[in-house]
Amino acid sequence: MSDEATDFLYPMVDGTTETDVDVLLDDLAASARGKAGHSAQLTDTTLDALDGQLDVLAEAMAERFLRGGRLLTCGNGGSATDAEGVAELFAVPPGQARRLAARSLVADVSVLTALANDIGFEAVFSRQVIAHARGQDMIMGFSTSGNSANVIAAFERGAEAGLLTVGLAGYDGGAMADCDALEHCLVVSADSVHRIQEAQSATAHELWRRIQQRLDATDAA
């Protein structure tokens, strides 16, 4: 009798099918604790490393918002949802924070599919930048690899139109790190897509907080 013929009858003796559920739950909880700790630590080290860059960027963005500038955000997949979240945070913030004009370029499926179908996926954000951009606007793109071609294309069209360009990348910054059109490249130095996305959201939140602070200070002056 071969192993293959009997395995299905005796799932318990297969090494990969242990049934001690408490051991598994303990392992899962330990794993979750470790990953949560790693995420918090990465956020702390990222905000420390980007502290000076965030100050310069917050100053420049606050100045553009005061001139009527709007924030456009973009990204793909999970990064598309994080880009939407940032546009939401700026436009409809919790509590008493001021509302700032912001919109995500991933929100309209009709526009995205029209551009992807007629031109190509690389153009889905850059064509929208061409349509929307005014000189005082800002474009913020998310890409964990730093290599998303459609996000890079949005920076290039944005820079041509005089927009302030902000990129959030992971790993070593990828193509974003070498992109001449990208003025502010914020890199989360890590190699897990999930942990990068978590730290990118924390970074964008910190940027938003500093912009609010600067605008409050301007009001008071």
Binding site: A32, A36, G85, T144
Partner: protein, 241 residues
């Protein structure tokens, strides 16, 4: 970060045992053919992030799982039409969200397992099968901590798939004097249609016909408690709490 104060009450790490339990339950449901429905009326991008995570994993080679967002308009009506017994609902919403509260109540009658992610004031006890709640804090939806919670659900669910022996739901065990499985105790039911004191209702264990003469004026979509083939009480949101 220097500004973490109130949030230290419940951090993502504190939820590790709950995340473990929720992930194993999800893996078992997926293994049995579940679809996961993601709902977030307040933060639709979070629902989309959960769905894309499960459908198109960032780690090459992990299996694609059926996850969908619920439409923003009338999510309860859409899910009533589309969910099947054994499905999963994951909501990311404040405790006070009336649509999500309604959805979570009804999910029991639809045979659906629920998880509810949020921060701040908690939903009532038992509002969902898995309540994953962070401390009082209006930053959690925006600073990456909600994202961390659902990333962990995805990561742990896939760990469970590597432990096939644990993917089978264990048979219910009868303990003590009353067996929940076998006794005829009250069961939540949603009215589908009714005529002359009888109603077709949807319950976690399937469709059935029950006597509704003890409850006044039932209408489709009402929730009732059924005992021994009879609807014995209406269930509205406040009573359940």
């Amino acid at each position: 970060m220097s500004t973490q104060t109130a949030s230290e009450a419940t951090s993502p790490a504190d939820l590790a045992p709950d995340l473990a339990t929720a992930s194993l339950a999800m893996a078992r449901r997926f293994q049995a053919g579940a679809t996961m429905w993601c709902v977030s009326p307040s933060w639709p991008h979070h629902a989309r992030h959960v769905a894309v995570e499960f459908v198109h994993p960032v780690i090459v080679g992990k299996r694609a799982l059926p996850a969908l967002i619920a439409p923003g308009r009338e999510p309860v009506a859409h899910l009533r039409a589309s969910v099947e017994p054994g499905d999963l609902v994951v909501a990311i919403a404040p405790a006070a969200d009336p649509e999500v509260g309604d959805l979570m109540r009804r999910a029991h009658a639809w045979g659906v397992e629920t998880a509810w992610i949020g921060a701040g004031p908690r939903p009532p006890a038992g509002a969902a099968n898995h309540v994953l709640w962070l401390g009082e804090d209006d930053r959690a939806p925006h600073d990456g901590r909600f994202i961390l919670l659902y990333h962990l659900l995805w990561e742990l669910t896939h760990v469970c798939f590597e432990h096939r022996g644990n993917l089978q739901e264990p048979p219910p065990v009868c303990e003590g004097e009353v067996c929940i499985t076998c006794s005829d105790q009250g069961e939540l039911a949603e009215i589908v249609s009714h005529l002359d004191g009888e109603a077709r209702v949807r319950t976690a264990t399937g469709m059935r016909t029950v006597d509704v003469t003890l409850v006044d004026d039932v209408a489709p979509d009402d929730l009732v408690l059924v005992h021994a083939g009879t609807a014995i009480a209406r269930v509205d949101g406040e009573e359940r709490r």
